[in-house]
């Protein structure tokens, strides 16, 4: 990337800081400062932070099993987020919400409407078994975030190893590895993941996580490989080789760290893609199994109650959308922040 220094300097606001050289535009402190200033990245960071907080809170909460398995009368929204007062009377499912007008007045409401929500006990109503929908949405964050992070990590690790080895050694090793990567890449991820999950493991969230991770190894392997190809020719690699450093150490110490910035951005964006895929997987019934609350799975169930409470099909989708949007915004912002060619 031969960009002359004058291009960096052009159009700089002289008032901002001291004279900045190109070096001052990379590195952690600069990146963090850029993220703070960039509206996109900041909003992404806010959303991701809230989502992560909600997910972690759901782990820390000691009532986890009761909340996940229980029905509405077992717990309240207030117990989940203690900033709200505990209501003393907890109505049985349905009671106290019947007077609520449906938000979507259906033309012919032949079935009993499920509680539409809007009360402090059930802000988003209850599902078909009377479990509080808000709590389930909150707990759904856990599965999505967990799956998103872990399977992206699997893809990233696998992809880094394969890409680095293929790019560094080149020749036949590269050919074989890249053909393998292309092959995995050619099978649509959702299809590959379902076949892997069902035939290798049986519908189970752990196999789903592993399957998603494996399915996304190719994308990371390709990026790392192309970075490694350009880094391999650098003088400092030559120097390390001349000094007798082992190949494995050159890859781990020099090649991988130097190719990491674009991969980091990609990984952030990939978390969003992963959550999207897992939502689809769960919607089809091959992700998290009930009673573990999961957004995709909730949409699958609510599909059958479309006529009695439309909102049950809306909330999980919004949750998925906001979460993915957070990671996408953050990834976009990170990309700008890590790219020294982009001016503030």
């Amino acid at each position: 990337m031969a960009v002359s220094e004058s291009q960096y300097e052009s159009g700089r606001e002289p008032a901002s800081e001291d004279e900045e050289s190109v070096e001052a535009r990379v590195g952690w402190r600069y990146t963090v400062a850029r993220i703070k200033r960039d509206t996109t990245a900041r909003w992404g960071l806010y959303i991701v932070t809230v989502v992560l907080f909600v997910a972690v809170y759901a782990v820390v909460d000691s009532n986890l099993s009761r909340l996940t398995f229980g029905v509405a009368s077992d717990y309240t929204f207030a117990q989940l987020l203690p900033i709200f007062d505990h209501p003393t009377h907890i109505p049985p499912p349905g009671e106290g919400t019947q007077h609520m007008p449906p938000y979507f007045p259906l033309a012919e409401q032949s079935w009993n409407p499920l509680p539409a929500g809007g009360t402090i006990e059930h802000p988003l109503g209850t599902d078909h078994t009377g479990r509080d929908y808000f709590t389930r949405i909150v707990y759904g964050t856990q599965v999505s975030v967990f799956v998103g992070l872990v399977s992206t990590f699997i893809g990233l690790t696998g992809g880094t190893i394969i890409g680095a080895v293929a790019g560094y050694y080149g020749g036949r090793v590269d050919d074989i590895l890249m053909r393998l990567v292309e092959t995995v890449y050619a099978i649509p991820p959702l299809i590959l993941i379902i076949v892997f999950t069902v035939f290798v493991g049986g519908a189970n969230i752990w196999y789903a996580v592993l399957g998603v991770g494996i399915a996304f190894i190719p994308v990371f392997a390709r990026i790392i490989r192309s970075r490694v190809l350009s880094i391999r020719e650098m003088d400092y690699i030559e120097a390390a080789r001349a000094a007798g450093v082992k190949d494995r150490n050159i890859i781990m110490r020099h090649v991988v760290p130097n190719s990491f910035a674009p991969v980091l951005v990609y990984a952030t964006l990939q978390i969003g893609v992963t959550i999207l895929i897992v939502a689809g997987l769960s919607f089809l019934g091959y992700g998290a199994q009930p009673p573990t609350p999961d957004w995709g799975q909730m949409l699958n169930i609510s599909h059958g109650y479309m006529h009695s409470n439309v909102w049950l099909s809306i909330w999980p989708g919004i949750a998925i959308m906001i979460t993915i949007m957070g990671f996408n915004l953050f990834g976009d912002g990170l990309q700008d922040a890590l790219d020294p060619r982009i001016e503030d």
């Binding site: 991820p189 379902i194 089809l284 599909h303």
Partner: protein, 333 residues
């Protein structure tokens, strides 16, 4: 001539990938704990002897590599084996179902291209103005929303609430109108099939639209800063013409690549959208096959979808080479 050579070269390059797909699919389908024989006999009284007989009939008693060779030999003859669940040839089953899926995927792409390209151009041309921000937000929402949920929302609004459009099924325009009761004439059939296709098309196409729009915007911005645009401006070429002719043409090249690579997302998304809209395409066939442990059918579908993706990438590569004179044939980047 060069182009023909390049085409042949690309097709030859695809062979190891196609073989790889068959190996991976075969291993996944055959190494799993799911046992097709016990599935077939579910709920029936059976003896060991019966299991052996069935295993022999489907060739399940032979070692894995032998079965793979037999399978591949069949594949080359167009025989993908027998579906255990449907008791019919896999190839015939897939032939029936591939039409709706292709119709859905292609129309989703058409929708995506028709909407994304103008939006991307407008956004690039009015950079940092409200219309740019609006289309960027729309693109962000588009890449962040699951296709099946878009489908659900569309059904809720346009089918359940407003009752304007049907919520499930598909009318196939290539069938004779007499195949559908109550439909007379081709025109009515086309109208019905368009009505049924509209919602699933949008559901599947939104992600593609958002992706293409983002690329289009970036490319147009880059293209508008190109030397040739500056030159055209210096010559006094009207801004509209610069946009339409000079900047536009160059910016379209990466779109071709995106369309090809996104085919795998689209084919996967078709599984979900077909499920939501009850469309009897490959996607639902796949889900049925998975849930009945019909490994022969699963193998067939996975392989076909993989092949379709490879074919799509080759077609886009070739059309890229055809459109862009700068592509050096037969060399890797």
């Amino acid at each position: 001539m060069k182009l023909l050579k390049y085409t042949i070269h690309r097709l030859l390059q695809a062979i190891p990938v196609l073989i790889g797909i068959s190996v991976i699919t075969f291993l996944l389908a055959n190494l799993g704990p799911g046992d097709p024989v016990s599935l077939m006999l579910q709920g029936q009284e059976h003896s060991e002897e019966l299991i052996r007989t069935i295993e022999r009939r489907y060739g399940l008693d032979r070692p894995l590599h032998e079965r793979y060779v037999t399978y591949m030999a069949g594949l080359l003859r167009g025989d993908l084996g027998q579906s255990i669940h449907y008791q019919r040839p896999v190839a015939a089953l897939m032939m029936e179902r591939v039409g709706p899926t292709l119709l859905l995927v292609l129309s989703a792409y058409a929708f995506a291209l028709v909407t994304a390209i103008p939006l991307g151009i407008v956004a690039a041309n009015r950079r940092n103005e409200p219309s740019d921000h609006a289309s960027r937000i729309a693109a962000l929402v588009g890449v962040s929303t699951p296709s099946f949920w878009i489908g659900i929302v569309l059904i809720l609004v346009f089918a359940v609430q407003l009752g304007w459009l049907p919520s499930s099924g598909l009318y196939y325009p290539w069938r004779p109108p007499s195949a559908y009761p109550g439909i007379d004439g081709h025109l009515e059939l086309y109208y019905e099939s368009a009505r049924h296709l509209l919602l699933p098309m949008i559901a599947l196409g939104t992600l593609q639209m958002a992706t293409i729009m983002r690329v289009e915007r970036t490319q147009m911005i880059e293209s508008l800063q190109g030397e040739y645009v500056k030159l055209a401006r210096a010559y006094g070429v009207p801004e509209r013409k610069i946009l339409r002719k000079h900047a536009f043409q160059v910016a379209q090249l990466p779109i071709i690549t995106i369309v090809g690579l996104n085919l795998s997302t689209a084919l996967g998304g078709a599984v979900l959208v077909e499920t939501v809209f009850n469309i009897n395409g490959m996607g639902r066939l796949f889900i049925n096959a998975i849930s009945t442990n019909d490994y022969q059918l699963v193998m067939g579908i996975t392989m076909l979808l993989g092949f379709l993706f490879v074919l799509g990438v080759i077609i886009t590569d070739i059309s890229y080479a055809y459109v862009d004179p700068r592509v050096t044939y037969g060399e890797r980047e």
